[in-house]
């Protein structure tokens, strides 16, 4: 893993997803910067960050604060933060995109779609497939 590999911060309370993301990241050349189990933990960890992650992957249904509430706090700290929602809740799509998320991916998903969403999240749609 080179230093230039995009770093991704994961907010997800399901351990199995964090492990899955880690596998896909290795495969696609990304780097799991850190992960948080809850919105509260995510906000604390983000505040204490030494380096901005290239992307934040956010679940919506979390213990305590939900994903959208967590995103709003993070955006307050850094308006440029890029946040990709990955959730099984279809109703979170409009809510997340309407509040500043760069993308929404519905669970379950195929690794290709996930990688594409992550790339779009980091580089924007213009560089898709690049």
């Amino acid at each position: 893993m080179s230093d230039t590999a995009p770093s991704i911060f994961v907010v997800e309370d399901e351990k199995s997803f964090v492990e899955l993301y880690d596998e896909i990241f290795k495969f696609a050349g990304f780097q799991l910067a850190d992960w948080a189990f809850s919105g509260e933990e995510a906000v604390e960890k983000y505040r204490a960050r030494t380096k901005d992650p290239d992307l934040i992957i956010m679940d919506h249904r979390l213990p305590g604060m939900n994903g959208v509430e967590t995103m709003l706090q993070i955006i307050q700290m850094n308006p440029l933060a890029k946040i990709l929602f990955v959730s099984a809740d279809e109703h979170a799509r409009a809510l997340s995109l309407g509040n500043g998320a760069v993308g929404f991916l519905k669970k379950p998903f195929l690794p290709d779609a996930f990688i594409r969403s992550v790339k779009e999240g980091i580089f924007g749609r213009a560089e898709r497939g690049g």
């Binding site: 899955l20 495969f27 305590g64």
Partner: protein, 501 residues
């Protein structure tokens, strides 16, 4: 009437008196023509009446074959439709007066009555009889209306019922005599009595009160019936009264209530089903997602033996989760249907040690420390042991899953709670130092699984599920802050289960 002759039967055995009457009729009837027939005994009078239509009878009460009021009775009972004017003598006026009560329209005293008065008496008798008959006919019609009405109809006066129809008798179970012999307030449900009586009194006084409302009546068999009343004030026998129409609405109210409760039940079931479905859809998506992704990665890169083993074991793990989710749902369904009664004995040390093993293998990266305060509780006897063990597994899983950092600390204690006036129950407390549960989320517990609460992870491994299970077993699951008032310091789960007997 004046154009037609009045057919008159004179019943008189004294030929002189008969002649006198005939003379008087001639004299007194300038405008009226009489068509007169004569009879000198009761028998011949009745015989005549059988064959001929007659407009009026002049009747002497003292006949050879019948005397006094018997004469009147015989004629009147056979021909109630014919008006009768009684002919009497001066010394028997008393009988004549009695005759008026026995069906005669009038009487005249022989030899003391002017001819004009005699004629007027006959004509008045005919007219009076016609009016009286019409009145009787009209009364009959109204009576028929009242008697055959499906509504209960009653007239109330001086706090008593003066008239009740058969429907009132059927509705209340009391006889007409019972209904009219006691104050009507005794027929009203105690809770409505004051209101109904007050409205009745105000209505009698002419004050404005609602004409239509509902109240309850008491029936003879002690049951209560709902009625709708429609009341107006009337004059009854010259004095103020109320006329009341009552409709029995008991059956309608019961049907409405049943419909309402059915609708509510159906709505609740639908909401519950929706909440289940929502949880389930979310859980299944969460389980399927890694399965699909790992399977796809295996398909793309099937040649890395290390990855094949790793990914296929991930798939297996998720498959096992799905299967445990289904068995949990089945358990919940089973527990709701069967309400287990068999008592199982759970050895606490065995249970906690197996829970620890499973939690350590599920969360290998966590450094888990659990301290126990079991006092002298070695085992507990409870209903549905398998369900109880499952609940503990969920609670442990939650406590570790939502602990921050890699070091996880749990405190577990068990005791036998003996509160005064309550059955003894086992109390197990499990405290963690994790993320805690905000108050607004905490308030959802205790409402069984019907938590349309999207903040929560799925049915299969969550606290709402545990709440439902424990509730079905007659116990309770409480969610508190470990440090009261500060949910960020972790959560304390208290499970109380009735001690098996």
């Amino acid at each position: 009437m004046s154009d037609d002759a009045i057919r008159l039967l004179i019943v008189e055995d004294n030929p002189a008196d008969a002649r006198l009457v005939l003379e008087m009729l001639k004299e007194g009837s300038k405008t009226v023509r009489f068509d007169v027939a004569m009879a000198d005994s009761l028998a011949s009078a009745l015989e005549h009446l059988r064959g001929v239509n007659c407009n009026a009878i002049l009747l002497d009460l003292g006949l050879p074959d019948s005397q006094s009021l018997d004469t009147l009775r015989s004629v009147h009972s056979e021909h109630p439709e014919i008006p009768i004017v009684v002919l009497t003598v001066l010394d028997d006026e008393e009988s004549a007066v009695k005759a008026l009560g026995g069906g005669a329209q009038d009487y005249i005293i022989k030899g003391r009555t002017e001819s004009v008065v005699l004629v007027r008496s006959i004509r008045y008798a005919i007219e009076r009889k016609r009016v009286a008959d019409a009145l009787v006919e009209s009364e009959k019609k109204y009576r028929l209306l009242v008697d055959s009405a499906a509504e209960s109809i009653m007239v109330a006066q001086d706090g008593m019922l003066r008239l009740v129809n058969p429907t009132t008798v059927t509705m209340t179970g009391f006889s007409e005599q019972e209904l009219t012999s006691k104050p009507f307030s005794s027929l009203i449900h105690p809770d409505d009595r004051a209101m109904v009586v007050e409205r009745y009194q105000k209505r009698i006084r002419g004050e404005a009160v609602p004409n239509q409302y509902a109240f309850r009546v008491l029936t003879k068999d002690g049951s209560t019936k709902w009625v709708d009343i429609s009341a107006i004030s009337i004059e009854w026998e010259g004095r103020p009264a109320t006329l009341n129409f009552l409709t029995d609405t008991t059956e309608r109210k019961r049907a409405e209530e049943e419909l309402r409760s059915m609708t509510t039940d159906a709505l609740e079931s639908a909401q519950k089903a929706e909440a289940y479905f929502d949880f389930l859809a979310h859980d299944i998506a969460n389980i399927l997602s890694p399965m699909i992704a790992y399977a796809d990665m295996l398909k793309v890169r099937p040649n890395n033996p290390e990855q094949v083993i790793k990914f296929s074991s991930k798939i297996l793990e998720q498959g096992q989760r799905a299967s445990s989710l289904i068995s949990n749902l089945r358990r919940l369904e089973g527990i709701e249907k069967t309400h287990p009664n068999e008592i199982d004995t759970i050895d606490l040390r065995t249970l906690f040690s197996s829970l620890e093993d499973s939690i350590r293998s599920d969360f290998p990266k966590k450094d888990i420390t659990i301290s126990y305060g079991l006092q002298d509780v070695q085992s507990m006897n409870v209903k549905g042991g398998e369900w109880v063990e499952n609940v503990f597994k969920c609670v442990y899983d939650n406590a570790v899953r939502y602990s921050t950092g890699s070091a996880v600390k749990l405190e577990v204690s068990a005791s036998l709670l003996q509160q005064e006036g309550k059955k003894p129950c086992w109390q197990i407390e499990i405290s963690d130092y994790g993320l805690g549960i905000p108050d607004n989320v905490k308030s959802h517990f205790g409402e069984s699984i019907n938590v349309a609460d999207r903040e929560f992870k799925g049915v299969a491994s969550s606290l709402p599920f545990c709440c439902s299970m424990i509730k079905c077993l007659g116990g309770e699951l409480l969610v508190q802050d470990r440090i009261p008032g500060d949910h960020k310091q972790g959560t304390r789960i208290i499970i109380r289960l009735p001690k098996g007997e």
